[in-house]
Symmetry: C2
Subunit: 299 residues, 2 copies
């Protein structure tokens, strides 16, 4: 009945999207050790840090050092988030393979997050994309609040398309559509993808779900059925709220891999090594992470 | 693309399957207060307790008192688990509306759980079903370990069919297929249902998922696509391990309702009242429950 792909690419965003939302400070040494472990799991893409101003995300103020000191495994793309030209320069100096730019589909979230209107953000990102491309880097574009905005509520598909189109026009190589606050359900995902897939090639699309309301794997299942083969996730479901153990950040890489492998969909990931890396970072965070699968082996 | 039903029936099994797996003792008064709250949420089916010997499940040793003292709301079916004729007699004396019999698809789990072989279990259940029917009760049949056994690993679809067929032959009104240890993935669910739906009418089938590895809502999504419209769940995801906050018991009613309502699938449930009941039992259990949705309103 359902058509699922035979292979999926998982992009590990835990060192960036996971850790930036954790209250526990992780030392630079531990970040490096963890990323080095991740490099040996079979993952082919790791978003290692963010070159935003340390004032905004103090958890990642060691971006340069982390990027410079990790071991680079062949076949692994090491990416970093950059907000502007200044961030890009640092990321280039730190020799990342790929840079990721970001903005929101909703006006208010964009203003709160980037301190600019959507219209004002476009030229800033355009400059970053052009400069990164000149340096031979690939560029990923993130669109946040695709399925809902914490300030505005509903976000129209038209607005998502408008922002996505501008990012593709700038020359990004891949677009990651983010359910930043974890509100999406499979129907919404289907309705969005029906429109998005008419405009952009599925090979250039990634879905980025948060598991805040438990729907992330169901949203991934419907995405798979619609032909999407790239998903962002964080090992252990890092980025959840430490005061509410059930609350989750990104969909957990380990839960995702469990589901995909159980469906005979290849990821190239070695589960044993992945779980070693998960137990390592769980111990450093110092509380049970929100991933379900991890808890079955942590007990 | 996908075909989803317009309406789904949720069968709340938290007072039985949830509480029997919780370490925290809940007082009889609190159980009654909680079930009375559940009766006002729009749920049409509540499995309130189990009439197994208190030696096996001391948490539910107050089964008779709970069943006798709850307020019975019109339109709500109050069901209880019964293992044998003795349990049935108590359940009938306590005036439950429906009884549920249970057995496993795997030989070893059946022996460990019921202390009988599968073949020895059939006549016991047959007698219970016959007697319950004579008293005008409807009967639900549970099959456990449908997607995997903690002792045997894989469980064949043939074995599930064999046990299910015998239960239907006895005269059960509904069959609930249980992923007792929470190992199923959507592919396995699809493969099972493709065979099961050729043998039994979908109106008589319910799916009973545990969210141990995070796949429950994805498994429900594929079940919906295949025509299943009845699902068991526990409010708050009760029944998880208290020492591993991410570990979950039954799929959480609140996560399920969030997904279904977001897909415009009606359940008849009032989310506000449901969450009041969830916060009540969470407070009594004394730890954050494993449901994702509940944590977004608990913070």
């Amino acid at each position: 009945m359902s058509k699922w792909p035979k292979q999926v690419t998982i992009k590990e965003v835990g060192p960036r999207d996971g850790l930036q939302n954790e209250k526990t400070a992780i030392s630079t040494e531990d970040k490096i050790a963890w990323i080095n472990q991740l490099s040996k799991t079979g993952l082919t893409y790791i978003e290692i840090t963010s070159f935003v101003h340390p004032k905004w995300i103090p958890q990642l103020s060691d971006a340069f050092e982390v990027a410079m000191r990790i071991e680079r495994a062949p076949g692994v793309t090491y990416a970093a988030l950059v907000p502007n030209q200044k961030g890009l320069e640092k990321a280039l100096a730190a020799q990342v393979d790929e840079v990721a730019v970001f903005m929101s589909a909703s006006e208010t979230h964009n203003r709160k997050n980037i301190n600019k209107s959507i219209e004002e953000t476009f030229p800033v990102l355009e400059e970053v994309v052009r400069a990164a491309k000149q340096e031979g880097k690939t560029v990923r574009g993130y669109v946040s609040t695709v399925f809902g905005c914490p300030y505005e509520g509903n976000v129209s598909v038209e607005q998502v398309i408008r922002v996505s189109e501008r990012l593709f026009d700038m020359g990004i190589d891949e677009l990651s559509l983010g359910d930043t606050i974890g509100v999406a359900t499979p129907k919404q995902v289907q309705e969005l993808l029906e429109i998005v897939l008419k405009r952009f090639p599925k090979e250039k699309l990634a879905m980025h779900f948060h598991d805040t309301r438990g729907t992330a794997l169901a949203n991934i299942l419907i995405s798979l059925e619609m032909g999407i083969t790239t998903f962002d996730s964080s090992l252990g479901g890092l980025g959840g709220c430490p005061y509410a153990p059930g609350a989750s950040g990104n969909v957990a890489t380990d839960d995702l891999v469990y589901m995909l492998h159980g469906m005979d969909i290849a990821t190239g990931i070695d589960v044993g090594r992945l779980m070693e890396a998960a137990l390592f970072i769980q111990e450093k965070i110092g509380r049970p992470l929100s991933s379900r699968y991890l808890q079955t082996i942590s007990m």
